[in-house]
């Protein structure tokens, strides 16, 4: 038995620590999802184990996907990035008009042959970060040039974010911030970034003013949701009439205690909508206490640290930017999900990478991990070559 595991472990290349993080997160995911989906299973009139099985299949598929993607030489991803980004743009447009509506937002499309539903923004996110890594590495020679580097790199970011924004503002905002981080790492001139920051603040302020000064009747589509969430967050913070979801989440946290372990014993899963998805983190805290919650935070931070370690070792700019860009994207998403769960940020629809139950999110997250591992595998192998 030991031997089987050992040989399995042998096949995994790249940073073993990252593999361990992935496995740790997946295990947590299965525990929490199994616990949290009881209500959903009942509502959908299926057995309690159905969602666990689904999640196990997803996790195994995710590991397989990581394995496949990490075996590909990362240099190919430069081309793939370009291709993916060019595909993602029409897909986003298609989703906006023909996507499946869920909670008033067109975020989903169904692949015709496979019958698989996925969130287009998940693909676009991955594609943009990869494309950004490619662009940044290609422009390294004139990276401080406004016209030659800054603008051509910024434009794809803005295009993708604008296409995501109407249906999923928070994802667009997070993606934009992540992209700016990656640009910053990619040595874009600080003054350009400062300028971008300034413009963003102004645009953001105008947008907020627009949202709050216009009468409700003139707001369209998702605007009501945005306004409500911001209002809920700013006005009812810790007050008695705060949002039901937020309040139930806080109750879950309060019930968790510091060191209390109570696996599968969450009560709040019955009161908290989306407990298995966007709010999985509070279920983990309720069942595994502050220690469990801190453990998850630590895992993501450790993951970021390992990504940065890859960057330091990466011989080529593309590999470094690819790894750190995807790493930052995943960790930022995780941080924001957890911040929402503890009510530091208004409610958004962002999942906790690898932990939340969810189809397409797992697929694209796994691919991202696979690509990072691919970079690390190449570094290791080159190092072996050098030493050999």
């Amino acid at each position: 038995m030991n031997k089987v595991i050992n040989t399995g472990w042998e096949y995994l290349r790249g940073d073993k620590m990252i593999w361990m993080i992935v496995i740790f997160l997946f295990i947590f995911s299965m525990l929490a999802v199994y616990s949290a989906t009881g209500t959903l299973a009942y509502k959908m009139q299926v057995g309690n184990e159905k969602y666990l099985m689904k999640q196990i299949v997803m996790a195994l598929g995710g590991v397989l996907l990581m394995f496949v993607t990490h075996m590909i030489d990362y240099k190919y991803y430069s081309r793939i990035a370009q291709l993916l980004w060019f595909i993602s743009i029409p897909l986003l447009v298609y989703t906006m008009f023909f996507g499946t509506e869920l909670n008033d937002a067109n975020r989903w499309i169904t692949l015709p042959v496979l019958g698989l539903t996925f969130q287009t923004s998940d693909l676009a996110k991955l594609a943009l970060i990869m494309y950004l890594a490619r662009q940044l590495s290609l422009k390294q020679d004139q990276i401080t040039d406004f016209k030659e580097a800054f603008i051509p790199i910024l434009l794809p970011i803005i295009l993708t974010c604008l296409l995501i924004a109407p249906e999923n503002l928070s994802t667009a905002a997070i993606l934009f911030c992540t992209s700016v981080f990656v640009m910053f790492i990619g040595r874009i001139a600080l003054k350009h970034i400062a300028m971008l920051f300034g413009v963003s603040v102004i645009v953001g302020a105008i947008f907020l003013a627009f949202l709050f000064l216009l009468p409700d009747t003139m707001l369209k589509g998702r605007m009501h949701t945005w306004k409500n969430r911001i209002e809920n967050f700013t006005q009812h913070h810790d007050s008695d009439d705060e949002d039901y979801q937020v309040q139930q989440a806080k109750i879950a946290i309060a019930k968790g205690g510091l060191f209390k372990l109570n696996p599968g014993g969450s009560d709040q899963r019955n009161f908290l909508p989306q407990a298995y998805n966007d709010f999985i983190y509070v279920i983990i805290i309720e069942e595994y206490g502050l220690i469990g919650g801190a453990g998850i935070v630590f895992m993501y931070l450790f993951f970021l640290y390992r990504c940065i370690r890859i960057v330091i070792k990466a011989p080529k700019a593309f590999g470094a930017l690819l790894a750190v860009g995807l790493g930052i994207a995943l960790v930022t998403q995780a941080m924001i999900n957890m911040a929402v769960a503890v009510n530091l940020l208004p409610v958004t629809g962002v999942t906790l990478p690898l932990v939340s139950m969810g189809g397409s999110s797992v697929i694209f997250t796994s691919v991202a991990f696979g690509i990072i591992l691919s970079v690390s595998r190449n570094i290791e192998e080159e190092k072996t070559l050098e030493t050999a």
């Binding site: 009942y42 509502k43 009139q45 390294q140 981080f181 910053f184 790492i185 040595r187 810790d238 309040q247 806080k250 109750i251 946290i253 309060a254 019930k255 968790g256 205690g257 510091l258 009560d267 709040q268 019955n270 009161f271 805290i285 502050l290 919650g293 801190a294 935070v297 993501y300 931070l301 970021l304 640290y305 940065i308 960057v311 330091i312 990466a314 011989p315 080529k316 700019a317 470094a320 750190v324 930052i328 960790v331 930022t332 941080m335 957890m338 911040a339 503890v342 009510n343 530091l344």
Partner: protein, 633 residues
């Protein structure tokens, strides 16, 4: 090379992320350890404080007959989760038992989905099943896992009368909730009108509290702390009403298809024996699930069945007012009992002509004038009261006159224990000064008051009350509807002392007036209402009504000595007082005193019951009387 490229900048990212992580770990610590609010809220999900409702007090009539009680009905509840766990239930049998279709069942389950988390909590599946339906269902309960019956109570009125007096209960409104300082909660039931409203505090009892554990699935899993924090509800007190429900039923029967009122009072105690507002309605109409629908139908009925006429409707008392006019004249010494006045069928008060209603010999004394209800005689009597009072001006005399009227409870509220009552009207000196100018009015200006017309207005309750006062020879007790309040557990009674009001008339003046009222029935205008063996005294009244036919009125009391009942009857648009009001009053008195109607008078009884005046009110049928509720025997 990349080392140099990125070293400085990745540090920044790392620091940002670590800071961020630290911030929300601190936040977590705050929510878990420092803030206590959410721990308290967490308990809220587990231990619930439940209200336990007391049973509302019952209402009995003066003879101990139950007139309002609580009936157990059943709500059929279902917890879908449990039904599903047991792999469904026998829908066919359920359809058969409840008389519904399979689509109905599906629709009911669909309807529950509005409630958050409905699958694990009990939902109402069928509302307000009668005991009969429920017991049939109970036999087959094993076929319906997840279903159970929850007992509730609704008010029931076995006699189906006295709706406006007994009143009804309904959901408490926002104003009452605010006033109750947190006692009432939305959805609570309180008395909305009548006795139910006035005696809400006594009938309502006191809510208890029960602390129960609920598991995460919302199921009650037993009491918390072995029930030591629970408080038991205190049942409402029973109310013993002064009504004689048999008399009430008979009165409502006599008044059917007529608009009007009947008020019967026991003069010695001020206890209301019957209080009829016609048309009435079956009080069961406003109970339970049908309340909302029926309430609207009653509210929009042009006959105003919800309007409590005995205390709210005012009429000019007409000739029924003449005994008061006579009494005041005697008291003021402006004329004696033997005072005679020639009646030539018309009285000329400085150009204002008052006619007499029918030809009769000139009255030579007060009794005869009362018996014949002679208008000129009482115009003159009223004039004497205003002008012959030694040393007083007309205005001063009239002021005195008003004060004496007030002492009979006229122009003011009687203080009855019902939620709404109006004062009626006795115009004051101030009022006439305002209309005509000070010193610019005299007896001729206000002559119609002498025969109970003009500005004077009385409620049927006030009418009955002045005759109670006359029979008492000078005093009346605040009329009331509740005799005593009984604690159902200790059987202790609480009785209220009601105020005795003294009329400003000396006792000796009542004898001749009572004699005159006796003559009214014996040989005068109401002789058709004479009852063999009963010394009924009274006075007919025919109140002029600018909106249609005159109102038929009669007020009186019996027996003449040791009076048991004082009564006032108003039949709107009924014409002469002797046509309907006097016969109805005499039948009620006979029924009350003899318990039966003599054979001779059965024909009259039948005629009164069958009289239908609805066409005078512009309707063909009495919709509200036609409405009924199914009741289970």
């Amino acid at each position: 090379m990349s080392k140099d490229l990125f070293r400085n900048r990745y540090q920044v990212i790392r620091i940002i992320n670590v800071r961020f992580a630290l911030i929300f770990l601190m936040r977590l610590f705050y929510l878990q350890v420092i803030s206590t609010k959410y721990v308290a809220l967490a308990n809220n999900n587990a231990i619930k404080e439940l209200d336990v409702y007391p049973t509302r007090g019952m209402i009995y009539d003066r003879k101990g007959e139950l007139i309002v009680f609580n009936e157990a009905i059943y709500d059929l509840m279902v917890t879908p989760y449990e039904t599903k766990k047991a792999k469904g239930f026998d829908t066919l049998k359920m359809c058969e038992l409840l008389g519904i279709t399979k689509e109905d069942i599906l629709a009911r389950f669909e309807g529950m989905k509005k409630q958050k988390g409905y699958v694990r909590i009990p939902n109402v599946f069928a509302k307000q099943l009668s005991l009969k339906d429920y017991s049939r269902l109970q036999e087959y309960m094993y076929l319906f896992p997840g279903f159970y019956g929850q007992v509730r109570t609704i008010r029931k009125y076995p006699h189906r009368v006295a709706a406006t007096i007994l009143g009804d209960i309904g959901e408490v409104d926002d104003k009452q909730i605010a006033k109750s300082m947190g006692y009432y909660k939305p959805g609570d039931y309180v008395g909305k009108s009548g006795v139910e409203k006035v005696y809400e505090k006594e009938l309502g009892g006191k809510r208890g509290k029960k602390f129960s554990f609920f598991d995460v699935n919302g199921r009650d899993v037993g009491s918390f702390g072995a029930g030591e924090f629970d408080t038991l509800p205190i049942s409402g007190d029973n109310v013993i009403a002064t009504l004689n429900i048999k008399l009430q039923e008979y009165a409502e029967k006599l008044m059917q298809n007529k608009k009007g009122s009947v008020v019967a009072i026991e003069p010695a105690t001020g206890e209301i024996l019957a209080l009829v507002s016609s048309p009435g309605y079956d009080p069961n109409l406003l109970c339970g699930a049908v309340r909302g629908k029926n309430f609207n139908a009653l509210l929009t009925d042009s006959l105003l069945p919800l309007y409590s006429r005995p205390t709210l409707a005012t009429y000019p008392p007409g000739s029924s007012f003449k005994p008061i006019v006579a009494l005041i004249a005697l008291q003021e010494g402006v004329q004696g009992v033997d005072y005679g006045y020639p009646c030539n069928q018309a009285y000329n008060a400085s150009g204002v002509i008052v006619h007499c209603s029918h030809p009769h010999p000139s009255p030579t004394n007060l009794q005869y004038a009362l018996a014949q209800s002679c208008n000129p005689y009482f115009c003159q009597t009223f004039r004497n009261s205003l002008e012959k009072n030694a040393g007083m001006t007309t205005a001063q005399s009239y002021d005195k006159w008003v004060k004496i009227c007030n002492s009979f409870g006229l122009g003011m509220k009687t203080g009855i224990d019902l939620p709404s009552e109006v004062r009626g009207n006795i115009p004051t000196v101030k009022y006439f000064n305002k209309i005509y100018g000070e010193g610019r009015w005299k007896f001729a200006t206000i002559i119609s008051l002498g025969i109970g017309q003009g500005e004077v207005l009385t409620t049927p309750l006030q009418m009955a009350n002045i005759f109670a006062c006359i029979s008492n020879k000078g005093y009346w007790i605040t009329p009331h509807i509740v005799k005593k309040i009984t604690d159902p557990v200790t059987n202790k009674d609480v009785t209220h002392e009601y105020e005795k009001h003294i009329a400003l008339i000396d006792k000796l003046h009542f004898e001749p007036v009572i004699e005159g009222l006796f003559q009214v029935v014996e040989s005068g205008t109401a002789k058709a209402a004479r009852v063999e063996g009963i010394t009924l005294c009274g006075k007919t009244g025919t109140a002029q009504n600018p909106h249609g036919d005159n109102h038929s009125m009669f007020a009186g009391f019996a027996p003449k000595d040791d009076t048991k009942i004082a009564i006032a009857v108003v039949v709107e648009n009924g014409g002469y007082g002797s046509t309907y009001a006097a016969p109805i009053a005499s039948l009620l008195v006979e029924k009350y005193l003899n318990d039966t109607i003599s054979a001779k008078r059965l024909e009259m009884e039948k005629r009164m019951i069958e009289t239908n005046l609805l066409s005078k009110y512009g309707v063909k049928t009495n919709k509200s009387a036609g409405m009924s509720v199914e009741t289970e025997e």
